[in-house]
């Protein structure tokens, strides 16, 4: 109840994710046992403002890609809501969802498999414009040419096929495709990890430039924290389907709170041979999302685990102004409800 009331009083959000979950049922491996469930996204809540960039980091299997797709309704969530401009888009179908689709777009990781090899880039980029009825005929071609130039592809290459371009260029084409419908939000799923180092900088700069000129919001999913830190306003760290920390970008990186975040940062090689350091060793492998540990999911690998950690799951709470953590080490200055609520409810109440 208090969610809705204070939600209406605060600044309108672009995206309000509430307790989003996605479960995958696996096939039965044995006649006698119930089929196992993968808790890919296990209760995620957060709010995004227009024009904001939230970075999403975590190891393989943490659920970050699934979360991105579940937000876009490319995967149907199992439960929870995705409020886009105040309207829940989960369960929307047909023409209603199609309208929303123009406003929330995606850029994929692999520039080689995300473009249809049988289509010219004019069609790859332009067909959505026709499909949404935004323009027809030669105007489509003009819009395509325009947007291609904005991403650094010459318009005289419109009739070419994807295989005629390099990886970096294909990624730009993917960006053009996402951009042409003038979205409000783009989910970027590992946009640069498949590219060479020198090309990564070009694409990162491009993403930052178009964010400025088009007023875009991004959900940037990446495993490279340096890239994420560079262009995000806030960063969320994910582990086994849950957010375990959320904070402003530079704060998170310079003063991480959660032991997992600390280990993640410590594992990143420093670009200076004079500053070689010992890594905080995380024991073991990331566990399987099929059978998460009891209590805090991270406790078996945590260098700072206490007794309570194996018994009780910590609450997701704001422990300092604008800093959220799910960890028994940090007493909340104010607890949120048991089902992680959106942080818009905490707007009026300041942390001391």
């Amino acid at each position: 109840m208090e969610n809705n009331i204070t939600g209406m009083l605060s600044v309108p959000s672009l995206l309000d994710i509430r307790d989003l979950r996605k479960l995958f049922r696996l096939k039965r491996t044995s006649f006698f046992r119930a089929p196992e469930t993968v808790h890919a996204v296990d209760g995620v809540s957060f709010v995004m403002k227009p024009g904001e960039t939230i970075g999403l980091v975590g190891e393989s299997g943490c659920g970050k890609s699934t979360l991105g797709r579940a937000i876009l309704q490319l995967i149907r969530p199992s439960s929870g809501s995705v409020l886009y401009r105040g309207r829940n888009i989960v369960g929307l179908d047909g023409p209603e969802l199609k309208k929303i689709r123009a406003e929330i777009q995606i850029i994929f990781q692999d520039p080689y498999s995300s473009l249809n090899p049988r289509m010219t880039i004019e069609h790859i980029v332009g067909d959505a414009v026709k499909a949404h009825g935004i323009a027809k005929g030669s105007e489509v071609k003009d819009r395509v040419a325009d947007i291609l130039e904005k991403v650094g592809i010459r318009r005289d290459r419109m009739a070419a096929f994807p295989h005629e371009f390099s990886g970096g260029q294909r990624q730009r084409i993917g960006i053009a495709r996402a951009l042409i419908l003038q979205p409000q939000l783009i989910v970027c799923d590992e946009p640069v990890s498949a590219l060479d180092v020198s090309i990564q900088a070009q694409v990162i700069n491009l993403l930052a430039d178009i964010k400025e000129s088009f007023g875009l919001a991004y959900i940037l999913i990446a495993h490279d924290l340096s890239v994420v830190n560079h262009i995000s306003n806030r960063i969320a760290v994910m582990y086994l389907g849950k957010f375990i920390e959320l904070a402003p970008s530079d704060d998170l990186v310079s003063r991480p709170l959660h032991p997992y975040t600390k280990a993640l940062i410590s594992a990143i090689p420093v670009l200076d041979p004079r500053k070689r350091k010992a890594h905080t060793s995380l024991r073991g492998e990331p566990p399987s999302p099929i059978d998460p540990p009891e209590g805090c999911r991270f406790h078996p690998r945590c260098p700072e685990a206490m007794d309570i950690c194996s018994i009780k799951e910590p609450l997701w709470a704001e422990v300092e102004p604008d800093r959220f953590v799910m960890c028994h080490l940090y007493p909340p200055c104010r607890e949120s409800r048991a089902n992680q609520t959106s942080d818009s409810t905490l707007q009026g109440v300041r942390c001391k």
């Binding site: 190891e59 180092v197 990564q200 990162i204 890239v227 990143i268 090689p269």
Partner: protein, 327 residues
């Protein structure tokens, strides 16, 4: 040759004859590797780093490849001229290699145990039982839990990090003199990467192994390399010890590369300004530009760069650069 010098490559040239023309994949490379040290090879797509590495173990099919010139001396013998039985004796035994994508480099139809055991059976003449025992020991050494169980599993049943550890177990089973690691951690999470690099270092210290670490990840180079060579379009453009490369890079490509990498805020070096990107793309190796390979993208280029291809010269003790603008 110094007594601790494991490998010496002299003026290596490897070309491929293709329909598009002659691809000069390796275009005059020379390097040395010392016992117990790590040589970092930095290069992006098309730099020739992988072709160079694979050629050392005669893994490049010829044709279409062609060894145009050069030698790779390993304890005085030229690897590139060895007969098939001779190079087989070296592979997996004296010189081992691990690759980027462990899923595609491990044989999917054989168990992990079979694949690690193969080295012991082939190179050390172990029987099946002993090979299995040693394989379990190796898995334990590389930090794979429950090794007796894992021995019987297939690659697809292991995670990416575990597969890479299995590859390392395979590569190190015969305690080689040299380990060639071609992008060993690129496909892995950063926490797993840290574990794998630590593991390699432990083995290196234990058996005094030389490592050739090939990667485009400069962070990995900073962490692991003693000496570094930077490759571009099949040539070495800069070569120095790791400290010099990071604190005194001389070739424009090296400098621009270092400037284009986003760094974490904690390093206190920068805010969130635009990255200094390198414009353009790596040229196709069948159509290299005239003069210096890098000049079309270089921010310091001068007219002479278009005419003359620079030689690799020692400009400071131990520091080699292929650039006419560096004195």
């Amino acid at each position: 040759m110094r007594s601790d010098e494991l490998l010496k490559i002299d003026d290596l040239h490897i070309h491929f004859h293709t329909l598009l023309g002659t691809v000069k994949a390796v275009n005059g490379v020379r390097l040395k590797l010392r016992q117990g040290s790590t040589l970092g090879v930095v290069g992006e797509s098309g730099s020739g780093k992988s072709v160079m590495a694979m050629s050392l173990l005669q893994l490049i099919p010829m044709p279409p490849g062609k060894l145009v010139a050069g030698r790779a001396l390993f304890y005085g013998k030229d690897l590139l001229q060895m007969t098939v039985p001779e190079i087989r004796e070296v592979r997996g035994n004296r010189i081992s290699m691990i690759f980027q994508e462990p899923m595609t480099s491990l044989n999917p139809v054989f168990t992990i145990g079979d694949q690690i055991g193969e080295s012991f059976r082939f190179h050390r003449g172990f029987n099946k039982t002993d090979a299995v025992k040693k394989s379990v020991e190796m898995l334990e050494m590389v930090g794979i839990p429950a090794p007796q169980k894992r021995i019987k599993e297939y690659p697809h049943q292991l995670s990416g990090g575990m597969r890479q550890r299995a590859m390392i177990a395979m590569a190190l089973s015969c305690e080689p003199d040299i380990l060639i690691a071609d992008e060993p951690t690129t496909a892995l999470d950063v926490t797993v990467q840290a574990q794998i690099l630590d593991l390699m270092k432990i083995f290196q210290d234990r058996i005094h192994m030389g490592i050739i670490m090939i990667t485009h990840n400069l962070g990995v180079i900073a962490e692991t390399a003693d000496d570094v060579i930077v490759m571009y379009c099949g040539r070495i453009v800069e070569s120095a010890d790791v400290d010099q490369i990071f604190h005194n890079p001389l070739h424009p490509y090296t400098r621009m590369l270092l400037q284009s990498i986003p760094r974490l805020f904690i390093e206190g070096v920068r805010g969130h300004d635009r990255l200094k990107e390198i414009p353009g793309m790596v040229p196709g190796l069948h159509e290299l530009p005239r003069g210096c390979d890098f000049h079309p993208r270089c921010n310091q280029t001068e007219p002479a760069c278009r005419k003359h291809a620079p030689e690799l010269r020692e400009v400071e003790p131990g520091h080699f650069v292929a650039c006419d603008l560096v004195k």
